[in-house]
Symmetry: C2
């Protein structure tokens, strides 16, 4: 009995385009003798549709389109499609998160998601009413259990703590289903596939039931979906795995427990590179752009961002802009030109000395009697932001920001300056990980990043002889503290208890708090860690934390 | 039996400061012979604490502080205090949203919120586990029912649809409580107090039980809390009302059904003015600033923002900055100076002609062969943004943005330009409402806004003879369409069905969608309508809507 897991790159809101993709995939699967096709979660709408879900006409249009799909596929095998379904009980939240079974041109059955995640980036209780009965259907005499994403993530043996009282998988198992299908939209983070496969294998084995997991692929705003749909037999052994970071139609035979196993690369740097490339390309294209620009400072962050952009949308579509000031070192200019040459992108040089001069003149009277401070550094950064946005506007090229997570955490960046742009490509990558990625790129991609860029001391070059470490601890210490605070939710007290210097920890956490106003106005950044700034980090601004 | 409703202006995160406020308020209430004191929801933490709730040390510190409060108030009357409480069951979300009863130096009882809002700006399912048993305690032989905010907002007779299956008030009533206390943190929107009072009166009468409602007051980020705590007798008649937009200790006698009824002004313009003044002042002060600056364009938006800022933090702390370009009319400069004079704020004039010139020179080569377009307008706006931020940085004065909701909706604003700033004071006020407010100000505040500013055609003055209506429909039509789409959640189809021009509606909704990327990077705006951009509007950016 062959099932086809349709691992597609869907666009949020694009019901028409997503329908075409689903129809074509089912037709391809039919040629491969699939007897049941399955999409990812909310596939027809694209995940996450967010507040588009609150537009009733959008939902109605999706259901009209679903009928068209049923008609178009009336001679194809049955297909399970993810869609939001109106809650007509007159009570509770407006929708269900559903999987609808189409067969012979008709809607045959509807299944509802039971467990609704409300942590990290997830807001599902904003839209959906949970259902409380796990469901199955019969296909050729075989009972097939249906679950949607979170429904399978609550096993009391695999996890130390349970998020929810109820375990839909336990309930399905007690109803003697012969396999469990899971429609997912599970965002990528580094190392997550290993956890997914360990968990899927563990619950398949525990319940002695094969599991089939379908994930979407592609970037949607801050989230990257890595695909890697997979199947496990009733012994908990992996029997099939779809491609990583790419569309795939994965055929799984649940009688013979056979399928194609994609040879994956679980190296953190490889995963990170692939995720950033996919997320960047999809964000640019799904926003309607073909070209991108970015500022090249001679530092590692902009070098890396340029390499990612070139891989994502083609080097011919990327322009690096050099905007040297009187504080820019000769090395920075040379290194920028060298990295652009190696990556193969165009460059443009616009010195900002004259603009700085006229700003300084214009502000002379207003600043009379006041000494130089961070203001003058910010003015420079914002002049560059203005030039880059002007080029972006005039060329129709999306501006990419180049800041990393460590900087964004402590506010070592200028709002409306280097923070300007449509997408913050590496905003969730800590500085130490940036170095690891650059070294990996040089090993695997023919030394794209000049060694001089990797070796130099990080500097914003906004005043003479400035380096990041003038005002920050070394990046390995900084990143270790930030990791504990951001990803492990630890307080200063707890971090100090681990042996970190109290003054340093307090200084860093204080900086993190103070920079919240900047992050609130930051461009979306691609999430690659367990907790990224953005939708998974919701902090107050006008507040006072007693340390 | 006298109860004191402690309507306090609390700061998010500031456990120490909030504790002092609560202790002092209880002591004052004791002097007024109160027998029970009640704070607002999560009072010790400040509402909304958002992801600070995920820091376990923060919660632990709050409980240590609660013990100190109990000790400090051991000779005072019992007090109910809002706080988050760890969920120790090892299952479910990490916290309860609780009210804790302190009496004679001890924690006597804990009550949990039952209904957790997950719509609009609310994310309570992110943090809290619901409780399922409504609770009461006895005070001098009287059964007092406890509820927290949303718990009383689910009456099946008052509302057309029920959000939740369960009604905690019905359950409390069935247990024969003699009054129901509600600890709230209910954000202001225009007209909301009338709905609150109608609902409270209706449920008090229906169950023949007096209701006492305590709301916090003050601005916390985008939310403004208007206070107006109140009490209703068992006939549903208002017996007490606290001050609007100001702290108050409201004494209510639930035996004699007497209390002070604050004479409120329900005029929409009066409410709006008071809310914006309170929200602006609190945001500036709670962020640690004392001064503010803003750009004065000669238009009504900046004039109004200046008037609000001056009222909020004192006219001596506000500076208006004129940055005329070659496109600025003589009228704009004169009008800006006149409005600054009437409001009594300082001004500063920095012409931008020279800066524009050098930008133009610097971009000449990159722009060769390309014609002028919106780019040049944006460059101007971003030059102004840079100057304003420089002044903000140098003076330590918060920059206020001056854009209105209609502009922000259709993207008629420049990201990193006029959108720059820490707080978007009138970002949730539609243009037509701006005019109404200006006229109200002139009537009640001695013509603060020059009539010329109200009468002129709105213009960004970024090119010769430009007006907003060159590319937008008249503001009454625009606002009517936006109101239906944003606040009533209507689709284009539904708005056209109401009789609006199809082309106009499609154009407007298309503009709204396209501007999402700007709004994502906008400063927090003070929420005054039923749906504001920001935390209550969560739209995807990289998406495609099939119209």
């Amino acid at each position: 009995m062959k099932f086809a897991l349709l691992q597609l790159n869907l666009t949020v809101g694009d019901i028409d385009g997503n329908a075409v993709k689903i129809i074509n995939a089912v037709k391809t699967a039919k040629e491969q003798k699939a007897e049941l096709c399955v999409t990812s979660e909310l596939a027809l709408l694209g995940y996450p549709p967010r507040d588009l879900l609150l537009d009733q006409t959008f939902i109605k249009r999706a259901w009209r389109k679903l009928e068209e799909i049923a008609e178009a596929l009336k001679d194809a095998p049955p297909v399970l499609i993810g869609i939001a379904e109106p809650n007509l009980t007159g009570q509770g939240r407006p929708l269900y998160n559903s999987a609808v079974l189409l067969s012979s041109g008709k809607i045959l059955n509807k299944f509802h998601k039971i467990l609704l995640p409300t942590y990290d980036v997830f807001d599902e209780a904003r839209y959906f009413e949970p259902s409380f009965s796990p469901q199955y259907f019969e296909l050729g005499g075989t009972k097939i259990g249906i679950s949607i994403c979170e429904d399978i993530w609550n096993d009391k043996d695999f996890w130390k703590t349970k998020r929810y009282d109820y375990d839909p998988v336990e309930s399905l198992a007690s109803q003697n289903v012969k396999c469990v299908i899971n429609l997912s939209a599970s965002p990528f983070t580094i190392g997550k596939q290993k956890i997914r496969e360990a968990m899927l294998g563990s619950i398949a084995k525990k319940h002695s039931i094969p599991f089939l997991y379908v994930n979407q692929v592609g970037g949607n705003d801050d989230l990257v979906f890595d695909g890697r749909s997979c199947a496990f037999d009733s012994n908990g052994v992996l029997t099939a795995r779809g491609k990583a970071f790419s569309e795939d139609i994965l055929i799984v035979d649940i009688k013979s427990d056979t399928g194609n196993i994609y040879k994956d690369d679980f190296m953190p740097e490889a995963e990170l590179w692939n995720a950033l490339v996919l997320g960047t390309g999809d964000y640019i294209n799904k926003c309607g752009f073909k070209k991108a620009i970015l500022g090249l400072s001679g530092g590692i962050d902009s070098a890396l961002t340029a390499a990612i952009a070139a891989e994502a949308i083609g080097k011919e579509n990327v322009t690096g802009v050099l905007m040297p000031s009187v504080y820019s070192s000769k090395g920075s200019i040379e290194d920028s030109l060298e990295v652009a040459k190696r990556i193969g992108i165009k460059t443009l040089t616009i010195p900002i000395k004259n603009i700085m001069g006229v700003f300084s003149d214009s502000l002379k009277e207003a600043f009379a009697g006041l000494s130089e401070d961070i203001t003058e550094e910010n003015v420079q950064s914002r002049i560059r932001g203005n030039l880059l946005m002007a080029l972006s506007n005039k060329y129709g090229a999306m501006l990419l920001t180049t800041g990393n997570k460590s900087e964004l955490a402590v506010g070592y960046c200028t709002i409306y300056g280097d923070m300007s742009g449509g997408l913050a490509v590496i905003a969730d990558v800590p500085k130490i990980m940036i170095y690891n990625l650059a070294n990996w790129i040089n090993k695997t991609k023919n030394n794209l990043i000049p060694q001089a860029i990797i070796d130099k001391a990080p500097s914003a070059e906004l005043r003479p002889n400035q380096t990041d470490q003038d005002s920050l601890p070394p990046y390995d210490v900084l990143d270790a503290i930030l990791y504990r605070h951001i990803e492990l939710y630890k307080s200063g007290e707890e971090i100090v208890a681990e042996g970190f210097d109290k003054k340093t920890v307090e200084k860093i956490l204080n900086l993190v708090g103070k920079a919240e106003f900047k992050r609130r106005q930051a461009a979306p950044g691609l999430k690659v860690t367990d907790r990224a700034f953005g939708t998974g980090w919701r902090m107050p601004i006008a507040c006072k934390i007693n340390l």
